[in-house]
Amino acid sequence: MELEVIEKDKYNLNLIIRGISLEMINAIRRIILSWVPAMAIDEVIILKNDSPLYDEILAHRIGLIPLKTDLETYRLPADCECGGFGCPSCQVSLTCEVVNDSKNNLIIYSGDLKTNDPNIVPVNPNIPIVKIGSGSSLIFEAYATLGRSRTHIKWQPVSNIFFRYLPNITFESEKCNNCPDKCIVSRMCPEKLYDFSDEKIPILQKDYWKSCTLCNACEKNCPEKAIKVEGENDNYLFFIESDGVLPFNTILKKAFEIFYAIIDEFIEKLEQVEVKE
């Protein structure tokens, strides 16, 4: 198997993976999407709410705020020694106490949440929670726990994760000499991968495989049948987009840990079963 990083920044990781089967890469994708735990607010106690939003809507908005996660210190409530009742090793408390003394309206941002653990903070301090009028106040207490996105979307560590076949376009530009039309393909391609500025022969971009979506618009519409689009078998482009909840290294490491744990559990259970011959 070969791995190559095309693009990496704070929120995006694009990879080429060569020599992996479709089932395997999809298993990795699904484990990252629904098994890797992340931190999110699960319980909100609202003590005072003068805002125009109802308590339920406010609690829902607070729950959806992504929090930076520390997987080494915290455990899932189901695996914790306390049995899910809430102890310092599976729960973080966040408080918010805002009183608007000014004459203007005040927006309460996620930066106003105060945590008892400095590692567990909202990924962005500029997420608006609610707006309150002058003289009103908002006081609540919230508890964040680890969870899996099989239960609720707020525990999802990535915002988007997908893969596609590595595109391979064979383009025979000699056939373009016979073509009387102005190249329709250069106008049809949604990613504008064909350069037709010299108005004679279209030129395919060198790094077309980065953005080609295998839509086959060029293959279908070329009057001379000069283009053939294929997806390479067992070679994939893998895209991960994160909200900054977990770093990419941790997401991938944890995904493989979970994958091995599931397989081990399966083998263990299989050995216990008596098979009649």
Binding site: Y11, D50, P52, L53, R61, L64, I65, P66, N105, V123, N124, N126, I127, P128, V130, K131, I132, G133, I153, Q156, S159, N160, E241, D243
Partner: protein
């Protein structure tokens, strides 16, 4: 004419999005923090296309969250709560 006004009014009442949603409804990407900078970009006279590029919003499901949003919380703040 009266009918038209009534229809428009009812239509406006129905889309009760009070404050910008935290995440995109379709894909779950965080978008609430981008709404204020987006409006600032437009005030400066730049195109929304450039604003989306600068704010890192790529997909059209996230774009419609911002472009179709009507902030009604300022109107609601004029009325005291019934408590």
């Amino acid at each position: 004419m009266i009918f038209v006004i009534k229809y428009f009014f009812n239509n406006k009442k129905r889309r009760l999005k009070i404050i910008i949603p935290i995440r995109c409804f379709s894909c779950g990407k965080l978008i609430a923090h981008a709404y204020k900078p987006y409006l600032e970009y437009l005030e400066r006279g730049e195109s929304s296309e450039k604003a989306y590029e600068e704010l890192g919003i790529k997909r059209f499901c996230c774009k419609r969250m911002i472009v179709a949003h009507v902030d009604l919380i300022d109107d609601l703040l004029k009325f005291p709560r019934l408590q």
